[in-house]
């Protein structure tokens, strides 16, 4: 048996401290660099585009430079905004309809076995139809006004809301239901205290997907039959070989998407608390 020695640990020397501050500084530098990566990745291709197009002598009819497009957006801004207003209204109409119908349908599927067995399979079958191909038909029935754009925007986007909401509602741990019931709670209370808040993150996730789709729907509607809107503007630009205007419309459509996405993101942050996994 050897006697155990008590080893006295030397206190950290100042050399360690210096090294630690050095490490910390390096880490901070790294974090700053990381933050610059995304903007750099966006800017580098644009810069290359700006430089290479004239270098190769490509005509503006074929491919205008980013700065030329931006300039066009600036000069024609009132006109572009006017068209964007129509497209935005169509998107909002279709998207709102998709949320309303999507969530209500999801609730019906969740609460009624009959609806689940009768409607859900049909819905999934319909989903396999490429709905964009219905656009020319929709024009026959809904005409050239708001109707076909809003309808198409709704049609392409509501499905993802239905499916995500149903899946989220079904994923709830039964324990939570029993918890509220053990307190004497009604189904309405179970819904508002547990089911809805638990499903909100998935619902918002599906709204982000649906938003993108509903913009596509509205633009397709405009391609088929329209006299205004950003999709119409693109067709008009094409017919006059005004490629710069065409790109300017694309910029405006993206702007529309980004701003609506931002609104949803803000709402999401307002209505859901950040919740890392409970495990």
């Amino acid at each position: 048996m050897t006697k155990t020695d008590i080893v006295e640990l030397a206190p950290f020397s100042t050399g360690h401290d210096e090294r630690r501050t050095l490490l910390r500084r390096r880490r901070r530098m790294q974090a700053m660099l990381d933050r610059l990566v995304a903007p750099a990745l966006a800017v580098i291709p644009l810069a290359a585009w700006q430089v290479l197009v004239p270098a190769f002598g490509i005509s503006a009819f074929v491919l205008p430079t980013p700065l030329a497009i931006l300039e066009r957006v600036a000069t024609d801004f009132p006109m572009l905004l006017d068209h964007m207003r129509f497209t935005a209204a169509e998107v909002l109409g279709g998207f709102a309809l998709a949320i309303l119908v999507g969530v209500l349908l999801a609730l019906a599927i969740f609460y009624s076995r009959l609806v689940e067995h009768a409607v859900y399979p049909i819905l999934i079958a319909l989903q396999t139809v490429p709905k964009v191909t219905l656009a020319p038909l929709i024009v026959i029935y809904l005409g050239y006004g708001w109707g076909p754009k809003i309808f198409l925007s709704f049609l392409v986007s509501f499905f993802s809301i239905v499916v995500s909401t149903v899946v989220a509602l079904k994923a709830l741990d039964r324990g939570y239901v029993n918890l509220i019931r053990s307190m004497g709670g009604t189904e309405a209370q179970i819904f508002f205290k547990v089911r809805l808040p638990a499903a909100l993150p998935a619902l918002f996730g599906s709204l982000k997907v649906a938003l993108t789709l509903s913009i596509i729907g509205a633009i397709i509607g405009e391609y088929v039959a329209s006299e205004r809107g950003l999709g119409y503007l693109q067709l008009k630009a094409n017919s006059t070989f005004d490629t710069t205007l065409n790109f300017a419309s694309v910029v405006m459509t993206s702007l529309l998407g980004v701003s609506l996405y931002f609104i949803i993101n803000t709402l999401e942050r307002m209505f859901t608390t950040p919740r890392p996994s409970n495990k």
Partner: protein, 279 residues
């Protein structure tokens, strides 16, 4: 932390003891389930027990013996196929407002703060939050969660979360406390602490407790009376009165003859049932 815990016990015992318990009678209940294939499974058969107001009764049994089903019926979450349950002599028809329940998992809502989780009971029962907010804070303080009222569940350890869940169950001072393996998911040391704290809490409140567990020593330490259940279909195989003075101390209890005799009697009952294979 340690000082905190001593404080906590002093706190609880300093308050004047109360007697809010209500008697519980379970008369010959039976539960038959139908499986998805249409087969009938008898989970509980002829289970009877009368529990006096303020009595602490533990039910031990092997997995799948139907002990949780008994509790779930007493909680009013599912009706017995036959037989009767009376709380304070009123026949049980659904969840009783005088009962509070603690589940195996804490079932804290991840989007609510600890305080809001405790007050969930108050909200579901449509009582005024303001009347209970202060009590909830006191209760959290009592169980050592004083500084955690505004934290979210994921910021707490498993033991702390289960403490919060117990607070949620007793915020409204239920005359009957139903506990379904409440410490089953906790590590051994945390569990010992929780057992001590539960005893202190119960000695102070004086409510009737029906406590489900598969831990023999936990049952014998905590309960005035231990019911040993048979394998499915579950009924009471053995009933043991544990005559040990209160408050019981975990340290040294295994030197008590009464304690050891009870534990080994329950073990041999399980052996006789074939729950333990004897090599």
């Amino acid at each position: 932390m340690n000082a905190d815990r001593t404080m906590l016990r002093a706190d609880i015992t300093a308050a004047p003891p109360r007697n809010i318990g209500v008697p519980l009678h379970i008369a010959n209940i039976q539960k038959i389930y139908e499986t998805a294939e249409g087969a009938e499974v008898e989970a509980v058969r002829g289970f009877s027990v009368s529990i006096a107001a303020g009595e602490f009764v533990a039910i031990v049994g092997p997995s799948g013996c139907g002990k949780s089903t008994v509790l779930s019926m007493v909680a009013g979450l599912e009706p017995p196929t036959s037989g009767q349950i009376r709380i304070d002599n009123a026949v049980l028809k659904g969840p009783d407002p005088r009962a509070g329940m603690v589940f195996q998992s804490d079932l804290l809502l991840p989007w609510r703060t600890i305080l809001d989780n405790v007050l969930l009971t108050v909200e579901v029962k449509k009582l005024r939050r303001a009347d209970y907010a202060e009590r909830a804070e006191q209760l959290l303080h009592k169980v050592g969660l004083g500084g955690f009222a505004s934290k979210f569940p994921h910021e707490l350890s498993g033991g702390m979360r289960q403490r919060a869940a117990i607070c949620r169950a007793i915020i409204q001072e239920p005359g009957l406390l139903l506990m379904d393996e409440p410490f089953g998911a906790l590590d051994a040391l945390t569990r010992e602490q929780m057992i001590m704290d539960l005893q202190a809490l119960w000695l102070n409140l004086g409510n009737t407790v029906l406590f489900i567990t598969h831990d023999i020593e936990e049952a014998v330490f905590l309960a005035d009376r231990v019911l040993v259940m048979s394998p499915r279909p579950g009924r009471v195989e053995l009933e043991l009165k544990i005559d040990l003075p209160r408050p019981r101390r975990r340290t040294g209890i295994n030197l008590e003859r009464t304690f050891n005799e009870a534990v080994s009697l329950i073990r041999s009952t399980f052996e006789a049932q074939g729950v333990f294979a004897v090599p």
